[in-house]
């Protein structure tokens, strides 16, 4: 199969062998560590995985296009989160379908966390998920022709399939992309679509969906929080002969932390239904990534979650290092840990500060909370050259060694300043009566729901699931540090605030140990640094516990200088799957803090 990633066929072992025994014909080994499952058995096998094998957490769903084999493939990575089985190793399985009739059964009924991910795979890859309750475009708009991650799709200013472009050297006379492909010649619309005159079908569907609330749930929702409908059956709209109010929040709204939109159906002030709408910041990061060479993607990962660029760098580096089979030298490992844990602290302080903004304490507390971040960014700048777009990690190491005096500054911060700053936050905020009144018991998410919706990071752990990738499947050198996985059990906004404080404290612990253990000198790069990395063919899923949650990079290499497939499991995006559920039955005024407590960054949500 030309164009296909060929690697030795693996035997089915472990949980896969159990599956094979039970479902025999439905499973076949793939040229990867996992199994290909027949479409007609997919749902059944998935249920068995979830219920009998303990794979309760569907981490990532994505598609890969193989034009040469005339096939598209859906790749699933499932883990055991609540049960903590299988050593934190994933169950990788795939479903395949022909390219021109790519239909695969939806797994939303098994893992609701597949919802947005399947919609994304439909939107970008054109894979239909049969039985998906709401299979519409999620990132692109309705006037968009085609599915951009298909290999034969070309972007508006398409120049060449892969970088580096030939026009740059040796005869590189500067041209502007806009001059080369004039505007209006570079866009295509779906057949029958007139951009100057159309009635938005997407908007109509949104409103229809918002209108169609499940009336049977109403009584429960409205009376359960003491909204006082009085009548007991709670359907106020009927009683006073009025309609439900549909409120559109965003995309241009300061509380959404970017351009994000929610369509909310209200009964009085109570939310009956909330549907997130996103994609306003979409730039097709993955397509860009597949045109780029491996190393060129590194600075692009900075732009995902731009509050936490170091974590993004690490996730991507780990995925590619898995393929290259390199491990960074000791010193580089420690530098990486320092960087990502400092990132976590910045991120959580930012999240706490801006939660207060969302609560109405406009900016004064937020600015105090991000003072420490300013100092951490100084450290990042001194080491990497940039405060936010760090571009610091390399495959098998880091870009450059720490400058003189860096460690001392870092020690000062980590041992003297950050612990006190965290205590200060705690002291000023945790017992504040407004915070408690507004946050306690708001936006609940139970442990079952959190796992089912594939929630990750602080959102998951605040719901009582102590699942942390650093502990469940230790990467880098996390197995050397003594730290606790922070966990809280109420699953409300207040616990999500508290857990961030807990995590900051744990990060400080890790940082202190790392600073003490770190070798004073030595190599920072394994092997020779190359501007065109040779990455052996294969596929790898590298995941880190980023500040927002589990950040995964699924990279497929076919041995060329460019990744064949480059997918990001974005925690901000997937955590939003649970937003509708968390907001149900809450007051409209609380939407903003519930969203704030998830802590999303739109650069990562929309990619």
């Amino acid at each position: 199969m030309a164009g296909k990633v060929a690697a030795p066929v693996a035997e089915l072992t472990g949980p896969l062998a159990v599956l094979k025994e039970k479902f025999s014909e439905a499973l076949s080994p793939g040229e990867f560590e996992g199994a290909v499952i027949k479409n007609e058995n997919l749902v059944e096998v998935a249920k068995f995985m979830r219920d009998d094998l303990g794979y309760d957490y569907l981490s990532s769903v994505t598609g890969v296009d193989y034009p040469a084999a005339n096939e598209v493939e859906v790749v699933y990575h499932a883990y055991s989160a609540r049960h903590g089985l299988h050593n934190g190793k994933p169950l990788v399985f795939k479903a395949r379908a022909p390219r021109d009739n790519s239909v695969v059964p939806s797994l939303v009924s098994v893992w609701p966390g597949a919802d947005f991910q399947e919609r994304e795979a439909w939107d970008l890859m054109g894979i239909k998920f049969e039985g998906h309750p709401n299979l519409r475009r999620i990132l692109m708009w309705e006037g968009f022709a085609g599915h951009p991650l298909r290999k034969d799709w070309h972007e508006a200013y398409f120049e060449q399939d892969n970088k580096p472009f030939d026009s740059r050297w040796p005869g590189g006379h500067h041209t502007r992309a806009e001059d080369r492909v004039p505007l209006a010649d570079n866009v295509a619309f779906p057949p029958g679509f007139d951009p100057t005159d159309f009635n938005s079908q997407a908007e109509t569907t949104l409103v229809e969906r918002a209108r169609s609330v499940d009336v049977s749930e109403l009584g429960q929702l409205v009376s359960s929080d003491g909204n006082g409908s009085g009548s007991g059956n709670g359907h106020i709209a009927d009683a006073i002969q009025t309609d439900h109010l549909i409120v559109n929040l965003g995309p241009q709204h300061p509380s959404t932390h970017g351009v994000f939109r929610m369509v909310i159906t209200l009964e009085g002030e109570t939310i009956l239904k909330l549907e997130p709408v996103m994609g306003y910041l979409h730039r097709n990061h993955e397509k860009i990534g597949e045109r780029n060479t491996f190393i060129q993607n590194m600075p692009f990962t900075d732009r995902l979650d731009y509050i936490a660029s170091m974590s993004n760098n690490l996730g991507y580096a780990l995925a590619v290092e898995k393929l290259m089979k390199v491990t960074p030298p000791e010193r580089a490992e420690y530098i990486r840990i320092l960087m990502v844990e400092l990132t976590r602290i910045c991120n959580h302080m930012w999240a706490i500060g801006f939660l207060l903004n969302d609560l109405g304490a406009f900016f004064t507390p937020a600015l105090y909370a991000i003072e420490e971040r300013e100092l951490v960014l100084d450290l990042f700048e001194a080491a990497s050259g940039s405060r936010m777009m760090c571009n610091y990690m390399r495959f098998g190491g880091v870009a450059r060694d720490l400058p003189e005096g860096w460690i001392e500054k870092c020690r000062d911060l980590v041992f003297n300043r950050l612990p006190k700053a965290t205590d200060d936050l705690d002291h000023f905020l945790s017992e504040n009566e407004i915070i408690r009144a507004r946050c306690e018991g708001v936006g609940n998410l139970t442990a079952e729901q959190a796992v089912a919706y594939s929630a990750a990071g602080p959102l998951l752990r605040a719901s009582g699931v102590p699942y942390d990738v650093r502990r469940a499947e230790p990467y880098s050198i996390y197995d050397r540090f003594d730290f606790d996985v922070a966990v809280r059990y109420h699953g409300d906004v207040y616990d999500r605030y508290l857990i961030r404080l807990d995590e900051i404290r744990q990060s400080i612990r890790i940082l202190q140990q790392a600073l003490d253990q770190m070798p004073g000198g030595g190599e920072i790069q394994a092997g020779k640094k190359q501007y065109q990395t040779r990455v052996p063919a294969g596929q790898a899923y590298g995941r880190v516990d980023g500040p927002k949650g589990e950040l995964g990079f699924y990279v497929v290499s076919d041995g060329n200088p460019n990744p064949y497939r480059y997918h990001i499991r974005a925690p901000s995006f997937i955590n939003l799957t649970a937003l509708g559920e968390m907001c149900k039955g809450q007051k409209i005024a609380d939407v903003v803090i519930i969203l704030g407590s998830i802590d999303i960054v739109l650069g990562e949500t929309d990619r």
């Binding site: 970088k163 580096p164 472009f165 026009s167 740059r168 050297w169 040796p170 005869g171 590189g172 006379h173 500067h174 502007r176 780029n292 060479t293 190393i295 060129q296 993607n297 590194m298 600075p299 692009f300 304490a361 004064t364 507390p365 105090y368 003072e371 300013e374 100092l375 100084d378 700048e381 001194a382 080491a383 990497s384 050259g385 940039s386 777009m389 571009n391 870009a399 450059r400 400058p403 003189e404 500054k409 000062d412 911060l413 003297n416 300043r417 000023f428 017992e431 504040n432 009566e433 407004i434 915070i435 640094k529 501007y531 065109q532």
Partner: protein
């Protein structure tokens, strides 16, 4: 107690407010709060009072590694561009914003290691620093000048070779550590070359037959 949270919060602000004035007084004797020495302290781990810096009147110094749009280094001693138009930077550049025209010898039509034209589209450059990191000749470096706003957003921001080129003295000034490393490498290489030449000469003398002078394998500038 109700209201205690608000009082606590106001207390923080008040403390900062007062501390700012006390700091101001402390700096009176040291030449004011706005000197280059005071600035990193004011926005540093020991800062007290107001933390912010009133840009553009005041500014924080940038660290040596700071990276903004790249510039080309001009070797003032040899009086030539250090760039050999090898094209590595143009190949590694993630947004592909480097354009290089290689010089060809008019007579032989063979490439000459000199760029005829060199453009960086600053509107596209993401200041990632990969070009500077991978240039084998230390010919392109990241700048510290971050104030590039312009009234014309097209041609003014496509930097050509003339605009990009800066003398190595400037590079030495903003990147002292990097410069020292380069000088050390040059010195080491010169020593090695001398050693090799001496060895070859000795060999030649011993064998008493002609041998080619050894060519340094990766000389930055083979004679054109």
């Amino acid at each position: 107690m109700y209201g205690s949270g608000i009082i606590k919060g106001l207390g923080v602000t008040l403390k900062h407010f007062v501390a700012t004035y006390i700091e101001d007084l402390r700096y009176v004797l040291k030449g004011g709060r706005y000197t280059d020495q005071a600035m990193p302290v004011r926005q540093g781990p020991r800062a007290r009072g107001v933390f912010t810096v009133q840009y553009p009147e005041e500014r924080l110094p940038v660290p040596e590694n700071f990276r903004y749009i790249p510039f080309l280094v001009f070797d003032t001693q040899k009086n030539e561009d250090k760039c050999t138009s090898c094209g590595i930077c143009a190949k590694v550049c993630p947004p592909q914003c480097i354009w290089i025209v290689r010089t060809n010898d008019p007579k032989t039509n063979r490439p000459v290691p000199q760029p005829a034209e060199f453009y960086i589209d600053a509107t596209v450059c993401m200041s990632c620093g990969l070009c500077a990191e991978f240039c084998p000749f230390d010919a392109i470096k990241m700048d510290h000048d971050y104030e590039l706003s312009s009234f014309e957003r097209f041609n003014n921001l496509v930097f050509d070779k003339a605009r990009l080129t800066k003398p190595d003295t400037y590079h030495a000034q903003i990147h002292p550590t990097d410069w020292a490393r380069e000088q050390a490498e040059i010195a080491e290489k010169a020593a090695k070359d001398a050693e090799k030449a001496a060895a070859a000469a000795a060999k030649k003398a011993a064998a008493a037959k002609p041998a080619d002078a050894p060519k340094p394998a990766d000389a930055p500038k083979p004679a054109a």
